[in-house]
Symmetry: C2
Subunit: 185 residues, 2 copies
Amino acid sequence: MSFEYLIDPEKGPQWQGVLPGKPVPYVLERGEGEHAMLFGDLFTVLLSGDETQNQFGIIVSDSPAGDVIPTHSHNETHETFFVLDGKVRLFFEDAEGARQSRLLTPGDFGYVPAGFAHAYQIVEDARMMGTLSGGFERFFQHMGQPTDHPTKDQPPFIPDFPRMQAAAQQHNMQFMRDFEWPEQA
Amino acid sequence: MSFEYLIDPEKGPQWQGVLPGKPVPYVLERGEGEHAMLFGDLFTVLLSGDETQNQFGIIVSDSPAGDVIPTHSHNETHETFFVLDGKVRLFFEDAEGARQSRLLTPGDFGYVPAGFAHAYQIVEDARMMGTLSGGFERFFQHMGQPTDHPTKDQPPFIPDFPRMQAAAQQHNMQFMRDFEWPEQA
């Protein structure tokens, strides 16, 4: 069994420096980027606010089918959900405050701007691309665990509650307990 | 032969209003969005600066294989190139001013921030997603021709020179004639 996904604590992640950290051109091959595990999901940062004058960041997620993630909202972050592979159910409060859900399949696109409660469920193993207001892209490595292994086929990382709270506070978001979504359409 | 891609000039494009025009949640199915033809390429806006407080916009392009597009740079626009299908060669000036080219295949990602000369060539019919600084996403319908038909299989639209100039000026970009790229790596 290989443990190349474990990071040498002396050196930090091998992906350090793969993003330039300033607005200059670069290319990443599929699988390159800043990797972090959060629960059973691999999140990879392809672009950060450091390269875009904080306009936007881009992530790719690789996720196993599972339960609905905790409902939350962002005070300042706009967020997109573009399905590359698999099936994802997006739950969101609409402009009238009604609670909606939509099943997204490859090529479908969802948008949730700042201030709207939302959640999602990976219905079939899925790969998504997300564009986020600049800075939020690193939430996943703050709540999760940086890793060098570029697939989700590695041990999950389960954050403890203080780590979850700290990451949510740092990134200006709220989890909303006891938030019920209607039966799936 | 069907002409459903022609827009009724009395009514304007059927896609009008498919984007909400303000920061509220919404979902688009694959093929939905604001369509425009520019040369033989279909550009579809999935998200505009109107929904993101001008932070970013998102387009999908469907393009036939062809020549290198004209080299250009944007004064204010950061731009990404994420290949969904096909093969695209991205040409760009790097941070040291050297002229680079990279062949991108599905899952590969390129970034060109404001101020850097770049071009691309569709090497094999390709579908790309691009995130752009907010506002630039509508360049393609300003230089191109809005259409209701959601595929590139329709007559090309060849803008005349004044239309090209007006769109470039409106979107704060320069075309760079006689810009040579090195032999392909």
